[in-house]
Symmetry: C2
Subunit: 242 residues, 2 copies
DNA sequence: TAGATTGTTAATCGATTAACAATC
DNA sequence: TAGATTGTTAATCGATTAACAATC
């Protein structure tokens, strides 16, 4: 590495990377934009779009500014154009081939989930270790034996794997997916997966989400208690304003 | 309890609040701790537990320090005691009654998901708008008509609602849950829900997770391109170290 | 030109991390 | 006491937000 051809400023910004927090919100913006497009809305202000997406407008504008300057001052954003730009940034211009491993209740639900198929993804293979499930048709696709995992990944050029197996076999499945060439994994099994650092793992953990809710719920329920305890701990104090 | 209502330092810390990022990791620690307990491990260092949970040890210690000082310097943490403390902090000492609205593929999967039931939660009611589903038994519970939502919430003292309906009706379902007294909602429908600020909503959005993966996948695929472009843009340069 | 709204700056806030004193 | 490991400090990093100059 020597002198370095310094790239132009906006390119540099993109190269330096869109912040993770922003990336996580782009799909939300995209959904809101698609809804607006379906309603026939052609122009939207950052204020309106932010409301639809459930964020504040400063955050929205900052997020969009990482992609480029796609708005018009005094006017707003062209809905169709922004749909295109956000889709492109997210890599949804092409269809990503997906494999689902594990066709239990959850895998079954995922295979049938419209949102997967609708935009940017195509489920190309379903595999399961249970012989009773092999051969069954789910969402128009035949469930194949887990032994075919590698060849299915290769044949369909699959880059994204969805793990919907029991936790006990998730790491093994993950290892096989990775060595077959899958480099992005969506994990529904309640386990921490170990992967090489170039592999991206996202985790969806239903019981974790519930436990986070329980924490907040407890706080609400507890609030009355705590207040009462504090009041009782104050000798000669009649009440505390709430 | 006499004069000094001034809470001791750790209590004060707890009152000031556990950071959200920490709360989100506590369930992960709890799972790792439970696994260790099942293996008969009685003591664990922050280094070991951090590895099991997939975080670094400094973060783990900082997180645990918000709950109190439950470790022993030079020794580590007692697994059983820490399970108890983390569970208590998360509000899992009691069982939270849960209602699931929408018994399609996903709702069905959720009702049967072991992780929900296992610790701290009890699914008490299932409702659906589809007359064909009403009366069907799912996970040992009879699906009731959506019209009974309010009375089921009241009867079972339900505080946590899971929305697994189509996006089109999610807001309406949410409104009904909230006015029935539910104050924590786990939303699987791909919509932004509007709720009063005292209501906590968590969102699980399968297609958003996939889209985030697509973004990173695109970067990897694109990386070769970008590198090549840069190299070609450098006259007289042979190669760039990767 | 006047009004509207973006894109960006800079201040603030919260989360992460390395390092190490405290202490078992 | 010596070795080990926690709990905490402080530095750093990244994300959020209000405010406003740029500009349509």
């Amino acid at each position: 590495m020597t002198s370095a051809p310094r790239p132009a400023s906006p390119r540099a910004a993109r190269t330096r990377g869109v912040p993770e927090a922003t990336v996580a919100r782009l799909p939300v913006y995209l959904r809101a934009l698609s809804a607006l497009a379906d309603e026939g809305v052609s122009t939207v202000s950052s204020e309106e779009l932010a409301t639809a997406a459930g964020v504040n407008s400063a955050k929205l504008r900052k997020d969009l500014s990482y992609l480029g300057s796609y708005g018009t001052r005094g006017v707003g954003y062209d809905v169709g154009y922004l749909v295109y730009q956000v889709s492109r940034e997210l890599g949804l211009s092409q269809d990503w081939p997906v494999i689902i491993v594990g066709l239990g209740h959850l895998g079954h639900a995922l295979a049938n989930y419209g949102g997967f198929v609708s935009r940017g993804f195509a489920i190309r293979a379903l595999v399961d270790a249970d012989p009773d499930l092999v051969g069954v048709e789910v969402a128009g696709l035949e469930v194949r034996p887990i032994g075919e995992l590698e060849q299915l990944v290769a044949r369909h050029g699959i880059a994204i794997g969805v793990i919907a197996t029991p936790a006990t076999v998730a790491q093994e499945v993950c290892d096989r997916l990775v060595s077959a060439g899958v480099s992005s994994i969506l994990n529904f099994a309640p386990t921490v997966l170990a992967v090489p650092e170039e592999v991206e793992v996202r985790k969806v953990d239903l019981s974790i989400e519930l436990q986070i809710l329980a924490f907040h719920e407890q706080r609400k329920v507890g609030a009355a208690h705590v207040t009462r305890e504090l009041v009782e701990a104050l000798p000669g104090r009649a009440a505390v304003s709430s």
